[in-house]
């Protein structure tokens, strides 16, 4: 997905002279083709996230289309005020591509985990948030950001474990039904869409027919589309993010305000830092985000 993003940004720049790429000293090697082919539109601003965003705002004010590429947690956390004031208050067309979201930096420890980014970015007026589930979707989303007049945050892991789509059906804001089902529904985002499909397969072996819906646009979610897709069956949100403030919170807001009275549970990081090291599979197991653990949570909840 990271490679897809890099490819999409390059292709955007090839078509649109206003595209400027800014790095926070991350990804320079990955963007080497961009740097070689568009040297006057490539800037490594250094380890200075506030400045990256401020400079991007200035570029946008001067008519450019800046794309920022950086590590999710740093590029949303360290420069939150700059994103809030320079980008969102002024509603400027700056795109932040945040890689290694969630707990993807599993071996590096919690300083590098990004489990608050949806919560913080969601609270900002004028911000649009995308969380693609595979490379095909990533490429489409980033291509489409060219037409966004305001700020955008795209949340990416490194690479997909496996593609979810053969063909992209992305429609901004509209949740995408990946697998139908009648006993429960998993509303998942990002890399956990694929994990949810595997969880649904496990549940199927227990005769639980579980639907899987891809929430690729975390803000704004098309409320009517979401309500039309779910009924009173148990709903589970699945995210590599704190259960506070992320996808689960966004969905619960919509469900509550639309009178949903069924069972609802947020599956995600249980408001704790993952102060453990290891592989991502290991962390998922510990955090209840592996396919088996997701399925287990669904079974326990339905059984109550």
């Amino acid at each position: 997905m990271r490679k897809a993003a890099i490819k999409a940004i390059y292709e955007l720049a090839a078509k649109e002279e206003r595209v400027i790429l800014l790095l926070g000293d991350v990804g320079s090697w990955l963007h080497r083709r961009f740097k070689a082919d568009f040297p006057d539109r490539f800037y490594n601003v250094g380890i200075a996230e506030a400045n990256v965003v401020g400079i991007s705002a200035g570029l946008a004010l001067a008519g450019k289309l800046p794309y920022i590429y950086g590590i999710s947690t740093f590029m949303t956390g360290r420069c939150f005020d700059q994103i809030r004031v320079d980008l969102c208050l002024q509603n400027l067309p700056v795109k932040i591509i945040g890689v290694s979201c969630g707990t993807v930096y599993a071996p590096f420890g919690p300083t590098h985990h990004s489990i608050e980014d949806i919560a913080t970015m969601r609270s900002l007026p004028n911000m649009t948030i995308f969380s693609p589930c595979d490379a095909i979707e990533t490429e489409k989303i980033i291509r489409d950001t060219r037409h966004h007049d305001g700020p955008v945050y795209v949340r990416l892991p490194f690479e997909e474990k496996q593609g979810v789509h053969e063909e992209c059906r992305f429609v901004e804001g509209v949740p995408e039904l990946i697998k139908d089902g009648i006993d429960a529904v998993l509303l998942a985002t990002g890399r956990l869409v694929y994990s949810s499909l595997l969880a649904a397969k496990i549940l199927g072996e227990d005769n639980i027919d579980c639907a899987v819906i891809n929430i690729h646009t975390v803000k704004p979610i098309n409320e009517k589309a979401l309500i039309d897709m779910v009924d009173e069956m148990p709903i589970f949100t699945v995210e590599d993010h704190n259960i506070i403030g992320g996808l689960g919170s966004a969905v619960s807001e919509i469900l509550c305000e639309n009178g949903f009275s069924g069972r609802f549970k947020r599956i995600g990081i249980a408001d704790k830092f993952s102060s453990i090291y290891g592989s991502l599979d290991y962390l998922d197991e510990m955090n209840g985000l592996s396919p088996a653990k997701i399925a287990e949570t669904v079974v326990k909840c339905i059984a109550k």
């Binding site: 250094g46 401020g54 200035g58 004010l61 001067a62 450019k64 320079d86």
Partner: protein, 263 residues
């Protein structure tokens, strides 16, 4: 404008700033009074088509508002409505207001934004200049130095910062909070051309700006030594006046000092 006219304009701008704060019972008067000559010179002598000015010390916006109204960016009646219900003009400037180039007020944002605009101009081979007025307390913010380092690295010689070096910030004397001395040396260390000037000497300010225009390799900073609250004796250099509103008595005394005519 000739010198005498600029001096008269400066007095009128100070009077308008005083009027605005007194009527609204809001606003940072002292922080605005130290910016007057800098802004008068900028808008009368320096800014040309395509140039931009960012007021990074957004709380010191009163003088800027008065000057923009004089230039016809918006009706002068908006000065009378400053901070009142539904007002166009408030305590910190918004980009949606005519003549305001960036929403500032959260300190440390203006210089990075100005750097980005200057960078865009360089990419497009535009000769325009970008000016940015910062406060000295504002230079406590790390983001100021992030921008300074970047601008120096990329030789953005069309970027001209001005620091309103009035030696006070909201809690007191700047040298007792974070002592920035030797201030000019700090900028020079990041590859800036630094010029020091009396921030209320109109001729000195004009000369300083012109020296900046001659610079071809480095961004420039004018360190303008100013007096916070300049123009009103009991406000000048008085740390208490960062956000004080004049009483009726103080308002009239201030008016007397600034000009003959009262409200």
């Amino acid at each position: 404008m000739e010198m005498k006219e600029m001096e008269k304009e400066s007095r009128l701008v100070r009077k308008k700033a005083l009027d605005m704060v007194y009527k609204a019972k809001a606003g940072c008067l002292a922080s605005s009074l130290s910016t007057v000559e800098i802004l008068t010179v900028l808008y009368d002598k320096m800014l040309t088509d395509g140039d931009r000015f960012i007021l990074s010390k957004g709380h010191g916006c009163l003088a800027l508002y008065a000057i923009l109204a004089d230039l016809g960016q918006f009706s002068k009646k908006h000065l009378d409505n400053f901070c009142l219900d539904g007002a166009l003009l408030g305590g910190h400037p918004e980009i949606t207001t005519p003549g305001i180039e960036a929403s500032t007020g959260s300190l440390g944002h203006g210089l990075p934004i100005a750097t980005g605009i200057t960078l865009a101009n360089k990419i497009d081979n535009k000769p325009n200049h970008v000016y940015c007025l910062l406060g000295d307390g504002e230079c406590n913010e790390g983001s100021v130095w992030e921008a300074a380092m970047f601008a120096g690295q990329h030789k953005l010689n069309n970027l001209i910062a001005i620091v309103d070096y009035n030696k006070l910030q909201s809690s007191g004397r700047s040298d007792e909070i974070i002592n920035m001395h030797p201030f000019a040396d700090k900028w020079r260390a990041f590859n800036w051309n630094a010029i020091e000037v009396d921030g209320h000497d109109i001729n000195g300010i004009i000369t300083a700006f012109h020296k900046c225009l001659e610079e071809t390799e480095k961004p420039s900073v004018i360190i303008a030594h100013t007096v916070k609250g300049k123009g009103v004796s009991f406000i000048e250099n008085n740390p208490e006046w960062h956000s004080l509103i004049p009483t009726e008595d103080q308002y009239h005394k201030a008016l007397e000092e600034l000009c003959e005519k009262q409200l």
